[in-house]
């Protein structure tokens, strides 16, 4: 039994040494490398040898099992210490060499290191290329960082700093985004291991996927990809332009009061807004729009329209407002209302003078400090 104990202790000491050398999946690396097993067995057998020497020399009484076990522990640890001891250090050229039994272990370890590293390098490349190919670097960086910081409860400050510095280094490098994604993959592999990388990579935003997802434009929020980031935009300008055209087409020349009443009626009847929270939010928006001190009536009408169109599609929006009466004086120009200039056709004396300046407060008040600033200057062309 004491022989087994000596062997296990010798082997255990070298196992801890190897575990500390390989940060990602150390158990897997050691289990799949015959060179690691050679090293472990060598240490185990040397512990057995030390135990045999101690038994042969009869350095202690061996009457009880406990005493034999103590001798085995001493042999296992002693072999580990002697194997790693250095008698003195010599300088050969620019290199310092430790002379002693430790030199043999160092050489052996460096050979094993190189062999394991090469084998593991192939596996690591395969893993990282598989999971990080086509991933968007910026989105992946943020998502992976959030997942690591959120999931690791005992992450020390030093570890945070190391991780952050490594990621920053990649951010600053002048290499293509795909290479940065691979570099991020290697960092994640080192820091969190293979299982974590594969699990997180599923949610990382992908550059290639985005072209398929984005054009559908069904999401109500920009975070609908699941990863918190939309990887790429390809829907162009069509939707916002359509929104603007519909609002302008339906609401141009409508007076404020009937529009306000219609919106309030829709809110009160529960037709507008999916739930009470949304209706509350819309009521706040309506109140904010109606209370704007420096906004004219037409702007308030359009603002109400956009607030409603934000929760309704174009067809419902048209149906809700199409029957409202327009201002009698303004019906003439309604047919050509897509032209930007028509937006300015308001309020008597300023008509036609402030093209492109219709956002200016028509009351003559300073927009920021609400003081009467006198008549507005005439825009010079």
């Amino acid at each position: 039994m004491d022989w087994v104990l000596a062997f296990v202790i010798g082997l255990g000491a070298s196992l801890v040494e190897l575990l500390s050398r390989y940060r990602d999946e150390p158990i897997k690396v050691i289990a799949t490398s015959q060179f690691a097993w050679v090293y472990l067995l060598l240490n185990g057998f040397l512990a057995l040898g030390a135990h045999a020497i101690l038994l042969d020399q009869s350095v202690a009484s061996l009457d009880s099992a406990i005493e034999r076990a103590g001798l085995a522990v001493a042999a296992g640890l002693g072999a580990a210490v002697i194997l790693r001891s250095r008698v003195f250090t010599a300088r050969l050229g620019d290199e310092q060499i430790s002379i002693g039994p430790g030199y043999v272990v160092d050489q052996l370890l460096s050979i094993i290191d190189a062999q394991i590293d090469r084998r593991r390098a192939l596996q690591r490349v395969q893993i990282v290329v598989d999971v990080m190919s086509g991933k968007d670097f910026d989105g992946s960086r943020i998502h992976a960082s959030t997942m690591i910081l959120g999931s690791r409860q005992n992450l020390s400050l030093q570890e945070q700093k190391d991780l952050a510095n490594q990621i920053r280094e990649v951010v600053d490098r002048k290499i293509p985004d795909q290479e940065k994604s691979y570099a991020l993959g290697f960092i994640l592999l080192d820091f969190m291991g293979e299982e974590f990388l594969e699990a997180v990579a599923i949610k990382l935003p992908s550059i290639t996927e985005a072209s398929v997802i984005a054009p559908s434009f069904v999401g109500t929020s920009i975070t609908d990809t699941g990863a918190g980031v939309v990887a790429s935009r390809s829907w162009g300008a069509s939707l916002p332009v359509q929104r603007a055209k519909v609002v302008r087409e339906i609401l141009t020349d409508l007076p404020l009061e009937p529009v306000r009443q219609r919106v309030i009626t829709l809110l009160d009847s529960g037709q507008l807004g999916a739930n009470e929270d949304e209706r509350m939010m819309l009521r706040q928006q309506v109140a904010e729009i109606l209370n704007r001190p420096n906004s004219n009536e037409a702007d308030k009408v359009f603002a109400l329209g956009f607030a409603v169109h934000g929760v309704w599609d174009a067809a419902r929006f048209r149906a809700a407002f199409a029957d409202l009466p327009t201002k009698p004086a303004a019906r003439v120009g309604r047919a050509a209302n897509d032209d930007l200039d028509l937006e300015v056709e308001v309020e008597g004396e300023f008509e036609g003078e402030f093209e492109g300046e219709f956002d200016r407060p028509t009351t003559g008040e300073h927009p920021a400090i609400n003081l009467n600033a006198g008549p507005l200057p005439v825009a010079k062309s």
Partner: protein
Amino acid sequence: MAKSAERPTDKSLFWQIVEDRAVRLDHVQRAVLRYLADVGGAATDFELRMRVSHPETRLRQALDGLALEGLLDLTSAEGYVVASLTRGGQRVA
């Protein structure tokens, strides 16, 4: 095992190192980004003028500033200027 004193209470240090770009935004720019985020990422200048409620010149200045920071893409379509959030802009918004 880390001592309790070494355990971080927050992870601000990490973000300070990774996200050190100081993006200074004024209140109009913040309002624009927030509105764009609310409506799905893109809006015309007409819609922004109506909803963000600032003078046209001020809004234009804010949009140009955001575009310079790389937070917005500005394109023209059918007489409108369309502002779209870029990937960087979404985090700020």
